[in-house]
Subunit: 431 residues, 2 copies
């Protein structure tokens, strides 16, 4: 390519380079124009000095509006005062397109307005920083599983069998084959794959047609799910702990600039170390009651409960062994208690709450059939899933981590909609 990127500018000190990008801002001091140019990889101050360039080039700067696209050529100069440490002394400036009335101005805008213009709003500093962290977060996740020899098994999105519940599924007509549903989990398919590969994971978009209007819900979000043959619920928690520490450390190492831009206090992230707290559901309920919650044993935690609970701990906390009636049919019954199952949720600190749900899976054919019937699920749709308990069934466990909830916590955001490029929520399908 005949141009260079701002992130690489330090390699070209003293050299003449060409950059291509967009005008972020500009100011003038008499005979000097300062143009802040961004190209997606960084922002650099470009200096146009009257007399040093032809007048027509110097005057071109007057026409430039916010977000106009342009090509600049100049000499790279180190300057400690400049943001990024370098400036470009321009010798040439070419306009690609003048932008007219860019709607997102430096003045404050409302959230609805910004998300109605998400296709443009991505260019602003805050979403730019968040999505750069997202990029690293997803890379860290994939890196962890690849290096630890999990095999990626892409599970189908269109499925005839339902996952956990029928009430929040998006459905579509599948050619002439009847209805199909958008998957809420790839877990059942991963359970098939462990007998072929041992340790597997999937990572894709997931859908919940939930009419929830909260700061924690999207209708379309990304989830990474892992499944491990011969792991029990404790092994599963050990794995999650190791995994989460890896990804948080990765972000702390790679995204210092972005976390600074977001004014994220990183000290709570620096505390994400072994061992995480592990408390039983029973204990959690007791703690919540003492803290004034109205929770009763047997129900799931609300967002408010999770907030209270996680503020009691300075690191992530596992809550294990939830009531059977509050959990999905596929979880393994506790060996000595009939009312709870072998599972755990991992709650992020600082009030953020659940980011991982995991469990040991029911590997017994008869008991699984019974649970499917109890939940009034269509036995026929689970025929293949039940096969897995007939042909060399083994103890196994798995978990799913919600990418957007994790990113929301890591970046310290107050609403999940900021954590995905184009959010889909109860009222938003555009742009």
């Amino acid at each position: 390519m005949d141009f260079c990127y701002i992130e690489d500018i330090g390699k070209h000190e003293g050299e003449k380079v060409t950059l291509k990008g967009w005008l972020y801002n500009k100011r003038s001091k008499g005979k000097i124009h300062f143009l802040l140019v961004r190209d997606g990889t960084g922002i650099i101050q470009c200096v146009l000095t009257k007399g040093e360039v032809a007048d027509n080039i110097f005057n071109t700067s007057d026409e430039l509006t916010q977000e106009s696209s342009l090509e600049v050529t100049g000499t790279v100069r180190q300057d400690q005062r400049a943001p990024g440490g370098y400036e470009l002394n321009l010798s040439d400036l070419k306009i690609i397109q003048i932008a007219q009335d860019y709607p997102i101005t430096p003045k404050p805008h409302g959230t609805t307005f910004l998300f109605d213009h998400r296709h443009l709003y991505l260019r602003s500093r805050r979403p730019h920083a968040i999505l750069k962290v997202r990029n690293e977060l997803i890379w860290a996740i994939r890196n962890y599983f690849y290096k630890n020899k999990f095999v990626l098994i892409d599970t189908p999105l269109l499925t005839g069998s339902v996952g956990e519940t029928t009430s929040t599924l998006f459905e579509t007509q599948y050619l002439n084959e009847g209805k199909a549903y958008l998957a809420q989990t790839g877990q059942l398919y991963l359970e098939a794959a462990i007998a072929a590969f041992g340790k597997v994971y999937c990572f894709g978009p997931t859908f919940r047609a939930e009419k929830s209007k909260t700061r924690r819900h999207l209708t379309e979000f990304w989830m990474v799910e892992a499944e491990e043959a011969f792991y029990d619920n404790d092994d599963n928690m050990d794995l999650q702990e190791d995994f989460l520490i890896f990804i948080v450390n990765w972000i702390l190492e790679k995204c210092q600039e972005e976390l600074k831009e977001l004014e994220r206090d990183i000290s709570p992230l620096e505390k994400v170390k072994k061992p995480f707290y592990r408390i039983s559901y029973d204990e959690a309920v007791e703690k919540l009651k003492k803290a004034g919650s109205k929770i009763e044993w047997g129900t799931d935690f609300g967002g408010e409960d999770e907030t209270i609970l996680t503020k009691m701990f300075d690191r992530p906390v596992f809550v294990y062994n939830y009531p059977k009636k509050a959990r999905a049919f596929y979880m393994k019954p506790h060996p000595t208690r009939d009312d709870v199952v072998l599972c755990a949720d991992l709650l992020a600190p600082e009030g953020y709450g659940e980011i991982i749900g995991g469990s040991q899976r029911n590997d017994d054919y008869d008991s699984l059939v019974q649970r499917i019937k109890e939940e009034n699920l269509p036995l026929d749709a689970y025929k293949w899933f039940l096969d897995l308990r007939k042909y060399g069934s083994v103890p196994h466990s798995g978990f799913g981590l919600g990418v957007e909830r994790t990113l929301t916590w890591i970046c310290g955001l107050s609403h999940i909609r900021e954590s995905i490029p184009f959010p889909r929520t109860i009222y938003r399908l555009y742009p």
Copy 2:
């Protein structure tokens, strides 16, 4: 964990280890039982010798059926004759579950039967090898983009705006917000993101409600798409060339064993080097006509045409500048010819055909509006997309690579259904 994986067995020569897995096969020679055990990471021969283990353990072997799950403990011994180079001299054997009448026996089965049992069929050597290559292929793809500083932008799957054509979309009711469609491409969203990040990519499942029953079509498949600001159609082809060479080399390096298992002749893959052939659509039509095809200028190639064409070349070939009427509305018109657009398809050799479609994008507001109207697409749904041509429009290009078609070629498969864990085709939504 209290067990080790077969792939790591070489690290434990002379040591006593425990493996957990499934019985793949067994045979006996009088006082010696040979058990072939697989655990997802490999297959190892385990040896039970009468007199060296208690009789009850030796006799346990008689009960073991194909795909029974078990735990074996023994001493690792190097043996050049053994597959994998090591054997396990057993001192203990525990049955986890006896499998009854595993349906996939060593005798041949029909394709429909195997794919009806895909949840079990994954355990067989051939699908195992293919999906291990898939795992590496996807890692290589992500690795390429990460290392080359493309930012991952996950584009929405549920969308109100249609992509290229309305006729092959899956639709669903989106809560109270009307109809939503399953995305056929993330490109339009990536075009928004380049102005924020410069170079971006997305990688997710893609849907086509096509009633095509061919060996190249799935209704749900994975596609990686890249989009690059300030790249023209030639730069775009250079990038694709570099990208494809990277991923093919990666597979050749990492998947020797799997390609051998698949009996893939790797010599055509070893020829994937710069420069790829580049011929215009016009030239391609001439070549095809000479070869006896009935193609007329102006239409797209059929699968048969692609097969003929790619067999003329010993490396991948770009066909560039297709007729405008055969291509999507968003492609940039040729500067001097009204009948073609600036685009290219990359065809894989050996008859495999198209694996990448790419183009320079139309970055001019007025001409893009005209094309949308010509195609009778709903202008309103493209309002945000048109915005991108108003606020700092820049020359840009992008492409999409179909993962399953690429894997089908790399592995030398005859049908695309083998290239994805749980294929979705015109008649298949199960398991």
